[in-house]
């Protein structure tokens, strides 16, 4: 089926006069993406036009990033992306995210918004949008794909890395005490005093350091973090069911 799909898309691309390296891109991408049905892609293409050219390129780029989200969900995500993108620029900025009302009340809202943007970038395009959301895909129907070189986005390690980066804002590979305090302050806010926060943070760092039996610095490294969360079922805790 893949070869038929590839042929179809090659034809499509040729008709639109895109370059040959895009062709290679497509070939590569659809071997990674076995659950795409040719008919659904074809159906969507026949209905709309330029919008789906953009979507197609986004789809394939997402596939390249090993996102493996089904096409119907991808379409839904794309519609959401478009609804967030008020001015139809084709990419999102921080203000677009902040327009989502519930996020302002969420203690980690700003951090989540920040996690969509790669360091230094001001905009998010659709593949990055999907890539971040793919961390929360439910892993129930994962098939082991032959030749998959990269780890899928929703593996446990990747999910933990994502969460770790939420805490570790300065990206130095460790959650320092100040960063942990910051997170706790945001989450607990008005409910506890500063000393209580300090005790909790102290205890957390100590526990993580003990468990990993490593350097007794005043921070939590990624390995310590991972070790302290090994008993928690990350796959269940961090899954949203729609992204299958």
């Amino acid at each position: 089926m893949e070869t038929a799909l590839i042929k179809y898309l090659c034809r499509f691309i040729k008709n639109k006069n895109t370059k040959t390296d895009n062709l290679i891109l497509f070939r590569y991408s659809f071997t990674e993406w076995p659950d795409v049905k040719e008919s659904s892609i074809e159906a969507t293409f026949l209905q709309k036009s330029s919008r789906h050219r953009l979507m197609l390129s986004s789809l394939t780029q997402s596939a390249v990033l090993c996102v493996s989200v089904s096409s119907s969900h991808l379409l839904r995500l794309y519609e959401r992306f478009e609804s967030l993108d008020r001015e139809n620029r084709g990419h999102l900025r921080k203000e677009d995210f902040q327009a989502v009302r519930e996020l302002s009340m969420n203690p980690v809202g700003d951090r989540i918004i920040g996690s969509f943007f790669s360091p230094g970038q001001e905009t998010v395009d659709f593949p990055s949008f999907v890539q971040v959301l793919a961390h929360f895909r439910h892993t129930e129907n994962d098939r082991i794909r032959d030749g998959a070189q990269k780890e899928p986005a929703n593996s446990t390690a990747r999910r933990l890395k994502f969460v770790f980066q939420l805490y570790d804002q300065d990206r130095d590979g460790k959650i320092s005490r100040a960063e942990l305090l910051q997170v706790l302050r945001e989450m607990l806010g008005m409910q506890v005093t500063e000393e209580q926060l300090q005790s909790i943070a102290e205890r957390a760092i100590q526990e993580a350091n003990q468990e990993a039996n490593q350097d007794k610095d005043d921070a939590i490294s990624f390995d310590e973090f991972r070790k302290s969360m090994e008993k928690v079922n990350i796959d269940h805790k961090m899954s949203i069911r729609f992204l299958e």
């Binding site: 439910h138 409910q191 205890r203 969360m229 899954s239 949203i240």
Partner: protein, 735 residues
């Protein structure tokens, strides 16, 4: 055992012809026994033995009693008629409860086989059978839940079975009432509209009952918000309001059971936070006892009915078919509904869960009560139904009830993960909730997290403000979790210390071997738990302190070392913690600063967010303690909480020990404990006892006095100061 009682009653019947038939259609045998004259004393085996002699004897007694009044004043009188009713009931319950104690000894005496096999074709029509079906399907998983608690199955299975037990009573009773009304009207008169009305009434009754329950839950929560000054009557409020919820639902002919259930569910969070620990215990154990009594009475009644031939009629076909069908159809129902549910569940229910769920369908008290309440005039086949129900109940309870535990073990049902709670997991799990809510919002979904977050916001902004008392409202769950973790670790530290010193921390509810040993154990435990507070106030310091142990003596800043000896990390066969052996190296340090740090940590443990105490009681407490006292003690502020890391930390811990040892020698223990009383009132979790000197280690070289922990603790025990008697009333929590 409960079958011996009906045997006794039978003997009663033969021995005393005055007993006008236990063969009653409607009134219960209990009533009849109660209304008998004074010929019958307490029921039970004793009566059975002496049944022959009793009637004459008692008759004589009554004549004697009659003579009393004609004679002079009698000092002691036989007041049987006065106490007869409660006496009989209490003795029955006592005998049945004694049976629970020696159930292993007596075994299960299986049925007195009085089955008179009468092959009578059961005269019943569709409506009657529908009625029978409704009542026989009432599942009573009490036995199953007991097994689950014993075996610790995973939470999902437990919740499913428990939820079924909560709701199925209501469903069954509602259906029963609907069908009863159909039966009364007569099968021929039921029109199509009535079926729809039946369905509608089912919905209205269920939902109405739920709403009534929730209304009362709100009222209950609101009332308990203000009961801070009247702690003693808090359980009364709980019982009364829940009972009123029941009665109100009955008043409107809604589902009373659902009303009570949802009253409890709704009010749980707020009432539990508002009422005191003692009230919680009272409510819990009173309800358990009442439930036990009710269950006992019903099963006594069941046993009696089983033996009383006149109350039922046997039909082999009906019984055997029922037994087969209830099993088959329950399995089919479970499989079908699980298939439907799995399409929506994140974690599907697998085969093992389904097997356990269908096997756990024991019938019990509800089915029996409903069948006995049938009207014999309207439902001609009542006796057959009664017989079938009795057999079904006996069979399922005995066979399935006894075999479910081996089954659960054989199937290797996934157990509840029994992991030690860590603060990291608590923090990050809360973070996950927020993260997922944010992601759902960004993705435009309204999934589980979205609604859950909305509910929590609503709860925080409106409900909790309305229903929680002010002090509880500001509590933080994470902080509570943190403290619980600390306490758990403290207990394990103390346990290790005890083990090393060949003492044992026995749980306080165990039956003691001797008074002295109990006293020793209890006092050891209490004193040991007093040590917890300060130890875990400076908890972060303890591992550093224990690191000190391995280092060469009297080194001010020892390098951090292996922490295998940490008690909470150590396995069972590990070497004893250094607390008892090594950590005696008193290292000179700034006493004042150490004391400041420890006090500030103590405050951070105990103080509520709103710190507005005019005179800090600890200052007055400290002023009475002699010895090294910080002259410039300041109320805690955020500046003091910044602790210098590294070498400072171990010293605080050790230094406190030294200080307190000195204080000990200066004052009597009574003084210390009395002074520490005001500290206790400050501590928000009442279970945390005031700081008390941690066990000093055995004598090493160096300054200060040290004692063997055994000796030290025994000294605490052998001279129980009067001041501590008050402390003893505050028991450590069962965690």
């Amino acid at each position: 055992m409960l079958l011996l009682l009906p045997v006794a009653v039978d003997l009663l019947g033969t021995a005393a012809p005055q007993l006008q038939g236990l063969a009653l259609g409607t009134a219960s045998p209990v009533h009849h026994l109660l209304h008998r004259g004074p010929e019958y004393g307490a029921p039970g085996i004793a009566l059975a033995r002496s049944a022959a002699e009793e009637p004459a004897g008692f008759g004589g007694e009554e004549r004697d009693a009659a003579e009393h009044h004609s004679g002079g004043y009698r000092v002691v009188q036989w007041e049987w008629s006065y106490v007869q009713n409660p006496y009989i009931i209490a003795t029955w319950l006592l005998v049945a409860s004694l049976a629970k104690i020696c159930k292993s000894a007596s075994g299960v005496c299986v049925c007195v086989c009085v089955c008179v096999c009468v092959y009578v074709h059961v005269q019943a029509d569709l409506m009657d059978f529908l009625l029978f079906g409704a009542l026989i399907s009432a599942v009573d998983p009490v036995a199953v839940l007991a097994v689950f608690e014993e075996v610790h199955v995973n939470e999902t299975l437990f919740i499913i079975v428990f939820g079924e037990s909560l709701l199925n009573d209501a469903v069954t009773v509602v259906l029963y009432k609907v069908y009863i009304s159909f039966v009364e009207v007569g099968a021929a008169n039921v029109q199509t509209a009535d079926y729809f009305k039946g369905v509608a009434s089912f919905l209205i009754v269920s939902i109405g009952g739920t709403l009534v329950g929730l209304v009362f839950a709100v009222i209950l929560g609101f009332i308990t918000r203000f009961t801070k000054k009247v702690r003693i009557i808090e359980p009364l409020f709980v019982f009364l309001l829940v009972y009123l919820a029941y009665l109100t639902a009955e008043l409107f002919s809604l589902s009373a059971i659902l009303s009570m259930t949802f009253c409890g569910i709704g009010a749980n969070k707020y009432v539990e936070a508002n009422i005191s620990q003692k009230s919680r215990t009272t409510v819990k154990y009173t309800m358990k006892n009442l439930a036990s009594i009710a269950e006992t009475i019903i099963f006594i009644f069941l046993g009696i009915s089983a033996v009383d031939k006149s109350k039922w009629a046997w039909d082999t076909g009906l019984v055997s078919c029922t037994l087969i069908f209830i099993f088959v159809f329950r399995a089919a129902g479970v499989v079908g509904q699980t298939w439907l549910l799995n399409r929506f569940r994140l974690v599907p229910l697998d085969k093992i869960d389904q097997v356990v769920m269908s096997y756990g369908g024991l019938r019990g008290a509800v089915a029996f009560a409903l069948v006995v309440l049938l009207d014999g005039e309207k439902v001609k086949a009542k006796d057959y139904f009664v017989a079938t129900t009795i057999v079904v109940v006996f069979f399922t309870v005995m066979f399935q009830g006894l075999t479910i535990k081996p089954l659960v073990k054989w199937l290797k049902v996934p157990r509840a993960t029994n992991r030690k709670p860590t603060i990291n997991e608590e923090i990050h799990e809360r973070a996950f909730d927020h993260i997922l809510t944010a992601v759902e919002d960004i993705a435009g979904l309204q999934g589980y997290h979205h609604w859950r977050d909305k509910w929590e916001q609503f709860d925080k902004n409106y409900l909790s403000k309305l229903l929680l008392s002010k002090s509880k409202y500001r509590r933080s769950e994470l902080w509570e979790a943190y403290q619980k973790i600390n306490i758990r670790d403290a207990i394990s530290v103390i346990d290790q210390v005890m083990k090393f010193n060949h003492l044992e921390l026995r749980p306080v509810h165990e039956v003691p071997q001797s008074n002295k040993v109990t006293l020793l154990n209890e006092k050891v435990r209490r004193s040991a738990l007093k040590l917890i507070c300060v130890v875990f106030v400076c908890f972060p310091l303890v591992p550093a302190a224990l690191d000190v142990c391995q280092s060469p003596p009297a080194v001010p800043s020892p390098p951090p070392s292996e922490d295998n000896h940490l008690p909470w990390k150590a396995g069972l066969g590990s070497p004893p913690p250094c607390v008892s052996v090594e950590a005696t190296k008193i290292i000179p340090v700034d006493l004042q600063q150490a004391w400041n740090q420890s006090i500030s940590s103590l405050e951070s443990v105990s103080s509520p967010p709103a710190l507005a105490e005019p005179v800090h009681p600890r200052i007055s407490a400290l002023s009475r303690l002699g010895g090294p006292r910080p002259a410039s003690y300041t109320p805690p502020s955020s500046s003091t909480s910044v602790r210098a890391p590294g070498p400072q930390s171990p010293f605080c811990f050790l230094e406190k020990k030294k200080e307190v040892q000195e204080k000990e020698e200066e004052e009597e223990e009574t003084g210390v404990s009395q002074e520490l009383q005001p500290l206790m009132s400050n501590l928000r979790p009442p279970e945390l006892l005031p700081p008390h000197p941690p066990p000093p280690p055995p004598p090493p070289p160096g300054p200060g006095r040290r004692r063997n922990p055994c000796v030290y603790l025994r000294s605490l025990v052998t001279a129980p100061p009067p001041g501590t008697s008050e402390l003893h009333s505050r028991r450590p929590t069962q965690l």
